[in-house]
């Protein structure tokens, strides 16, 4: 197990994992509190359309994915504001259309040799140094934005109507939050995959909510939990030669269930 730490590709994967965990730990609780899990799922799957398009046109996959995720976020944010009663239907459409666009583009690409599975389920080998820098910069942006708009996000999540009445730009904040979710999805795509990222956005925040009582503390605890899950998952992925995404999610699921039971037992012994 320790020889893994010597290998550059594994070191990159670990650093990437920690950087992704920070983004996910901060954004996850906000997405959960705003009941955006399904929206995040829609964005993640629609991102696949951008991956397919990028392969077809021979451009950067990261750029393609980022564009597609932002478009999906904008579409979902707009629909949920204008037609709030049909939000879930609209998300389902964005979800499926994005996914099938990706499949069609990759079908049309003559002799493409990229492993598309690695975008869906993550690959420990997929991260290089330039990705790490990008992730670090993005983490910094998230920390600054969430710190600056902390109380605005809080107001948006607790009572959007009142917030708007008090001059908070709720529609912009809603889109900003979905945009941050979209960027998190794109960055996490390489390591845990588009399909798995949703589980990582939800599980740490679900657990931490049961142990602490303010948004800031929930974010801190989810960051720590996410880091633990990612590191353990990557080690297992290396040791047993399995997909990193699936491995991380399985560890997270065990962690979540364990924490749930601990809270239950502690609660009943009181």
């Amino acid at each position: 197990m320790f020889e893994a730490l010597q290998m550059p590709f594994f070191q990159h994967a670990l650093v990437a994992g920690i950087l992704i965990a920070i983004a996910i730990g901060i954004i996850g609780p906000l997405a959960m509190a705003n009941k955006m899990t399904f929206m995040s799922g829609g964005i993640a799957h629609a991102t696949y359309g951008g991956v397919g398009a990028a392969i077809f046109f021979g451009s950067s996959i990261l750029v393609g994915a980022a564009l597609a995720s932002i478009i999906a976020a904008a579409a979902i944010s707009f629909i949920s504001y204008r037609f709030s009663s049909r939000t879930d239907t609209a998300i389902g459409i964005v979800w499926a259309v994005g996914m099938s666009t990706g499949v069609i583009f990759s079908d049309l690409t003559a002799g493409y040799n990229v492993d598309l599975m690695s975008f869906l389920f993550g690959s420990i080998l997929a991260v290089d140094i330039s990705d790490l820098w990008l992730m670090a910069v993005f983490d910094l942006i998230i920390v600054v934005l969430v710190w600056f708009y902390y109380y605005d996000f809080m107001a948006l999540s607790f009572d959007p109507v009142f917030a708007r009445l008090r001059g908070v730009k709720t529609q912009i904040l809603h889109f900003l939050l979905l945009g941050l979710v979209a960027m998190t999805v794109v960055l996490a795509m390489r390591l845990v995959g588009l399909i798995m990222v949703i589980a990582l956005l939800t599980m740490p925040s679900f657990s931490s909510e049961r142990f602490v009582n303010s948004l800031g503390k929930i974010m801190s605890v989810s960051v720590i939990l996410s880091i633990v899950y990612v590191i353990c998952g990557l080690l297992l992925a290396y040791m047993y030669d399995i997909s990193s995404g699936a491995s991380v999610i399985t560890v997270a699921a065990f962690g979540t269930i364990t924490l749930f039971l601990i809270k239950k037992i502690k609660g009943s012994s009181r």
Binding site: F148, Y150, Y151, F158, D159, V161, F162, L165
Partner: protein, 260 residues
């Protein structure tokens, strides 16, 4: 003119092509305690939201203290319906009350000392200061409504607007909330949407019956006094039938009302 808090002049409102309010003209004077009553779907909340400027009328004009709601600069203390907010959200009582002054934060978007003191004072005003650090989801329905009233008071409102503040609260809690509103009404105008006829008749000065159109009723102080006496006698339960028996024809209607 100067003594009017809210004026509606020929206001109509449509939602999805359906007329919700038709040609509504009413005025509410400063210092009034107005209850908005009427059947579900009759347009009560819509009327309140129009007064706040959250919704815009298709026809007609609305003035808040003489100006259009959006431009009036009037501080509205809004208390939403119980279902309007996300009570599972991890937020403390203090943080909720501070939302009332969210537009007055400093350049780093943080609450300064003065704002925190204001929030503490508002919590003391509604007798909830000892709960300041508790999570909002741990409170009872009545306590939560007090906190939301504190949030509204925190912004020094010129007018309080409440949307069914007692919908899911027991009799005693309802009475406490209305007693608090009556106290606050000594200084500010109060408009409350309510289902609860006994509370409305015991505490409000006017009642607007909304069912597409609006009919104004005056509730005189004598009636209020009598209903309050009745409420005293019913500790815990006071049903509609008992209420109407007690009231009989003591409700004083204006001319429009007698046509119906």
């Amino acid at each position: 003119m100067k003594n009017l808090a809210v004026e509606l002049d020929g206001v109509s409102f449509f939602y999805n092509g359906k007329e919700i309010l038709h040609n509504v003209s009413i005025s509410v004077s400063k210092g009034d305690f107005l209850a908005i009553i009427g059947p579900n779907g009759g347009g009560k909340s819509t009327l309140l939201k129009l007064m706040m400027g959250i919704l815009k009328p298709l026809h007609g004009e609305i003035r808040l203290f003489g100006k259009t709601p959006a431009k009036s600069g009037i501080a509205i203390g809004y208390v939403p319906q119980e279902t309007g907010h996300n009570i599972d959200f991890p937020i403390t009582v203090m943080e909720v009350v501070l939302m009332g002054v969210i537009h007055r934060r400093n350049i780093l978007r943080r609450y300064n000392h003065i704002l925190k003191q204001k929030a503490a004072k508002a919590l003391q005003r509604v007798n909830m200061y000892s709960f300041a650090e508790r999570k909002i989801s741990e409170l009872s329905g009545g306590q939560r409504q007090r906190v939301l009233i504190a949030r509204a008071l925190c912004g020094d409102p010129d007018i309080l607007m409440l949307d069914e503040p007692t919908a899911s609260i027991d009799f005693r809690g309802q009475k406490e909330i209305f007693e608090l509103l009556e106290e606050l009404n000594e200084k500010i105008t109060v408009i409350v949407v309510s289902h609860d006829m006994s509370m409305v008749m015991g505490f409000a000065k006017h009642a607007a019956y909304v069912n597409k159109s609006v009919i104004m009723h005056t509730i005189d102080s004598h009636t209020r006094y009598q209903i309050k006496q009745q409420l005293e006698g019913h500790n815990g339960h006071y049903c509609g039938a008992e209420f109407w028996q007690d009231v009989g024809h003591r409700i004083e209607c204006n001319e429009e009302c007698r046509h119906v």
